[in-house]
């Protein structure tokens, strides 16, 4: 379906180039859905945008408490933007808890829209307000719209036959209606969406539509400020909105199609990776097999088995799951079979911050196995890049017969942005042949390597004459027979490392973008791409010369990495960890680095990065 929607006509609207709105409420208030609908309409309208949900780890924390606040932020603009925005310029707070938890982020003078009905003594007390912030003057620095949303919602739906609870629950659509009016978003797509969603419960559809329209009408009659954000100029093409997890799932399906191998995914549910399992489970007509394993270890074991059986084998997880899979990944390194382990990084250690983001598994991916067990690491850098990363990880796995770790993070996983849908004919062919013939006279040697890639042949069960055994015990190079020979072990250790190192020959070189006279290069990896880009833009607007580069391959590094970094006086590495890439760069290239390390389990703010970079550039 392709739609072109014009903004409502006839209103005197102030034009803005960008807006950051945060919808915040109780977990039960439907803020994710509200944000999602607003995003969908904005995307189809043609704005560039980026979104970031922020929900509690608890499914339903007690109503009205700080722990139960769920928020959704959208940044949309008439130009290409890079992040979901540092701070909201508009905050919709559905209750005192949402206000208390989010007010500190609202920009000074920002627009605050509150549901006054929720500001009763009980709710105020729950979050420790001794005075009502709506009346004590503490909000004087903001432009406040006080709207009794619950009352007006209940009033607007009274003819639809819903009960009181259902009526009150429609207030998120009222809020969406208000915001839609203010930012000139059409209602029709949401109405169609509601009618489809509640097709079996028409009275709920009616109530939600009524609330949405009532909110919109309220905005108009109360003459709330009205704005217009023109569509962005994006490259021509067909677009859709996509989250990182969904893009990754599509990337894996694309890799299956482009490798002509059936996709096999074994995973154990874990936040924030589960949505990849959910998405892939829906596409059985692509021959995608998904197994919800009994635990993380089993998921990794099944992946190894499926790889041996000749499938494109994948497991998806997050930090704690990666710990558990380490043993099987070590086996995969020893078996030299192709497979991809996706780690959607979250705050650690241990259970840590399951719903938040971090970049703290890089060294784990690199070294988190006993013995010397090197493997390639690919990192996605934006939500839409997860599609590319899925294909690239599979490509390397197949070509070099090796497990690959693909790193994304909680921010990339859940954030959405417009995606220019790639043309399928432009996707690379990543298929490799199975072994079909003996390769050593009459015999088949499973560890007889390809001379350039050092990859061993992949002979799958069912192939007559190529029966062979592989295992975790050290094996002789070539024959693959168990070998306890010391020199062979040394050789195999070197070969396993050399095979991974050899990938640098064909990994695309590290691109860098440098101003003339730039003395400082910012080197990033993973999900900080957008924030670094926005910070660099700001520095350039200030006339500060700067260079930047972003690593997509973390092992091996692109071959020119050292050369690129040595061109500059200072190498600055911002990371949401205490300096993991810094350690690798120093160790690999003997180049000193300056870290910007904030481990708040939140994405970097472009403004903070800008300030830190200025300090470094001026020091």
């Amino acid at each position: 379906m392709s739609t072109q929607i014009a903004p409502p006509e006839g209103t005197d609207r102030k034009e803005l180039d960008r807006v950051v709105i945060r919808f915040a409420g109780d977990s039960g208030d439907g803020m994710q859905l509200t944000g999602d609908r607003f995003t969908s309409v904005s995307a189809v309208f043609g704005n560039d945008l980026a979104t970031m949900p922020d929900y509690p780890a608890e499914i339903r924390a007690p109503a009205g408490t700080l722990a139960g606040v769920s928020a959704f932020q959208i940044h949309f603009a008439d130009f290409d933007i890079l992040t979901p925005g540092d701070q909201p310029s508009v905050l919709v707070a559905m209750n005192p808890a949402a206000l208390k938890a989010n007010l500190k982020d609202l920009i000074p003078g920002g627009l605050l829209i509150v549901n006054t009905d929720a500001f009763d003594n009980n709710n105020l007390e729950k979050v420790g307000y001794t005075e009502n912030p709506l009346t004590d003057g503490s909000l004087a620095g903001f432009q406040v719209y006080e709207i009794p949303m619950t009352t007006m919602t209940v009033e607007s739906v009274k003819d639809t036959g819903v009960n009181k609870k259902e009526a009150e629950r429609s207030k998120n659509m009222f809020a969406l209606g208000v915001i839609s009016w203010m930012y000139s978003r059409p209602l029709e797509p949401t109405i169609a969406w509601l009618e489809k969603k509640f097709a079996k419960k028409p009275h709920l559809a009616q109530a939600n539509v009524a609330a949405l329209k009532a909110g919109h009408a309220f905005g108009e009659t109360a003459e709330l400020s009205a704005f217009e954000i023109k569509p962005a100029t994006l490259a021509p093409g067909t677009y859709r909105r996509i989250t990182g997890n969904q893009a990754l799932a599509y990337g894996l399906i694309a890799a299956s199609v482009q490798s002509k191998l059936p996709l096999f995914l074994a995973s154990y549910p874990i936040t924030p990776a589960s949505d990849i399992l959910h998405e892939l489970s829906r596409h059985k007509n692509f021959g995608v097999r998904t197994v919800q394993a009994e635990d993380e270890i089993a998921a990794a074991g099944m992946m190894v088995g499926a790889a041996f059986a000749g499938h494109l084998a994948i497991t998806t997880t997050s930090g704690p799951g990666l710990d558990l899979k380490s043993e099987s990944i070590g086996l995969a390194v020893s078996l030299e079979l192709p497979m991809v382990i996706v780690d959607v990084q979250r705050g650690g250690p241990s259970t840590g911050l399951p719903t938040k983001t971090e970049q703290s598994d890089l060294l784990h991916a690199m070294y988190g196995r006993h013995g010397e067990a090197p493997l390639p690491i690919v990192a996605a850098y934006s939500p839409t890049s997860c599609f590319w990363a899925g294909i690239e990880a599979c490509r390397i796995a197949l070509k070099y017969m090796t497990p690959v770790i693909l790193l994304t993070d909680g921010y990339l996983a859940n954030s959405a942005e417009p995606w220019r849908v790639p043309s399928v004919d432009k996707l690379p062919d990543i298929s490799i042949p199975f072994a079909s013939q003996p390769n050593a006279g009459e015999d088949f040697w499973p560890y007889l390597r390809d001379e350039t890639t050092l990859a061993r042949p992949w002979a799958i069960p069912g192939t007559p004459g190529l029966e062979h055994r592989v295992g975790g015990l050290e094996k002789a190079d070539g024959t693959g027979n168990i070998s306890y020979d010391p020199d062979n072990h040394h050789l195999m250790t070197q070969l396993r490392a050399a095979k991974i190192k050899a990938i640098e020959e064909e990994v695309e070189p590290l691109e860098f973008d440098a101003d003339e006279d730039a003395k400082v290069i910012i080197l990033g990896w993973g999900g900080t791409y957008g924030a670094i880009g926005a910070a660099v833009r700001r520095l350039r607007n200030r006339g500060k010369p700067i260079a930047r580069a972003h690593l997509k391959h973390l092992n091996p590094f692109p071959k020119n990495t050292g050369d690129v970094l040595r061109r500059f006086d200072k190498v600055v590495i911002p990371e949401i960890n205490t300096g993991q890439l810094s350690r690798l760069i120093r160790a690999e290239f003997l180049i000193d680095t300056i870290g910007i390390n904030k481990v708040r389990a939140l994405p970097f703010r472009a403004g903070d990065l800008e300030q830190e970079l200025l300090k470094i550039m001026e020091s």
């Binding site: 379906m1 392709s2 739609t3 995307a43 189809v44 490259a235 021509p236 093409g237 067909t238 677009y239 859709r240 909105r241 599509y250 399906i253 694309a254 199609v257 059936p262 096999f264 596409h283 059985k284 007509n285 692509f286 021959g287 097999r289 197994v291 394993a293 009994e294 635990d295 270890i297 089993a298 990794a300 074991g301 099944m302 190894v304 088995g305 499926a306 041996f308 059986a309 000749g310 499938h311 043993e327 086996l331 849908v421 043309s423 399928v424 199975f434 079909s436 799958i460 069960p461 069912g462 192939t463 007559p464 190529l466 029966e467 055994r469 592989v470 295992g471 975790g472 015990l473 168990i482």
Partner: protein, 355 residues
């Protein structure tokens, strides 16, 4: 196999073996690797029996995969001239689940032990049985850790004195048959390393069963736990203590079949003298009984192999195999939605165009 079957399983480019399977011999299944168990180990007898029975199963070596974990028994795949994976400790059922659910066209065997399968890998074992993955699981139970040189295992008897339990073990052991039945296994059997005929017949039945087959094989570790099964293998015990279960027959055993098994009013199985109880009151063994409680009661006749112990097939019922169910879903999805079209998928949802 049909063209589309090959596609679904990803076996493109593989040509099926010509010449049929009727001509297979034991040599087709024995690898050239030197067998390295201790002389006298019960594993030799099991290997010989398996290599001996494989040609009769009608499945060529290339369609056969042996998967193991870690332990003495887990060296097994190296000695079979089939496809094989020597995995990691306890994980064989998981690895095998990956193979069997990816490739329903293969016959996948799991060789494990009491430490590998019931201790470190207990979770994978019970879940493989619950799912009814199409696996033939051979659990070599020697009631000891052999490869790590003689610690007690989850099937060692209470009070077992070993290097790690110098004052005797205070652990209560598993009864592997009870465990498998409790885990919803659809095929559950027990046999003995030294009884080649019985072992072979049970293995044959297990191979023919679609779904998970679980066989506990009592296996003597003559180095660290010699004589653990002497009550069943000794000169006297051989005739007095082996209770062979036969489908459709009253359960009788011992010299002159003078003893039998009957079910008490409160549901236990007990051993009785046939003369006193009367033949008509004995339990008639029914492998195919859907309800597993009688099979479970039989498994409780012996806590360990120290007295009269049932051998044979406790349970053999039909239940859809995991990989088959998965393949069915793939086929019906492709039938209903048409085969996957990548371009259509990528362009699905709310899309818009920029000119």
């Amino acid at each position: 196999m049909t063209e589309s079957g090959n596609d679904l399983n990803g076996t493109r480019g593989i040509t099926e073996a010509g010449g049929g399977v009727g001509t297979l011999t034991r040599d087709d299944f024995a690898s050239d690797q030197e067998v390295r168990w201790c002389p006298g180990c019960g594993d030799y007898a099991i290997l010989a029996a398996i290599q001996g029975v494989m040609p009769d199963l009608g499945i060529p070596p290339e369609k056969t995969v042996f998967v193991s974990g870690i332990g003495c028994s887990s060296r097994f795949p190296y000695y079979m001239n089939t496809y094989g994976v020597h995995g990691i400790h306890g994980r064989a059922p998981a690895i095998a689940t990956g193979i069997a659910s990816a490739r329903p066209d293969l016959t996948v065997w799991v060789v494990t032990g009491d430490g590998d399968g019931l201790s470190i890998g207990g979770n994978h074992l019970i879940h493989a049985l619950r799912r009814n993955v199409n696996l033939k699981i051979l659990l070599f139970n020697n009631q000891i850790y052999g490869l790590t040189k003689g610690q007690y295992s989850p099937t060692s008897e209470e009070g077992k004195v070993t290097k790690s339990t110098p004052f005797g073990s205070v652990d209560h052991p598993f009864n592997p048959i009870s465990l498998a039945l409790g885990a919803e296994a659809s095929f559950v059997a027990r046999t003995l390393d030294v009884d080649r005929k019985h072992l072979t017949s049970v293995v044959r039945r297990a191979a023919a069963h679609r779904g998970s087959s679980f066989i506990e094989i009592y296996q003597n570790c003559n180095i660290f736990n010699d004589g653990a099964f002497i009550a069943l293998t000794g000169k006297e015990g051989r005739s007095t203590n082996r209770i062979y279960l036969e489908h459709g027959k009253p359960i009788r055993f011992g010299p002159d079949a003078s003893k039998g098994v009957r079910i008490t009013p409160d549901g236990r199985a007990e051993i009785v003298a046939v003369g006193e109880a009367g033949d008509a009151n004995l339990l008639v063994h029914d492998e195919h009984r859907d309800d597993p409680s009688l099979a479970f009661a039989l498994s409780r006749l012996a806590d360990g192999p120290t007295g009269p112990t049932p051998l044979g097939i406790f349970r053999a019922v039909d239940r859809p195999a995991y990989g088959d169910g998965m393949e069915h879903q793939l086929r019906s999805a492709a039938d209903q939605q048409g085969p996957g079209d990548l371009s259509r998928l990528l362009n699905s949802g709310d899309v818009w165009t920029v000119n």
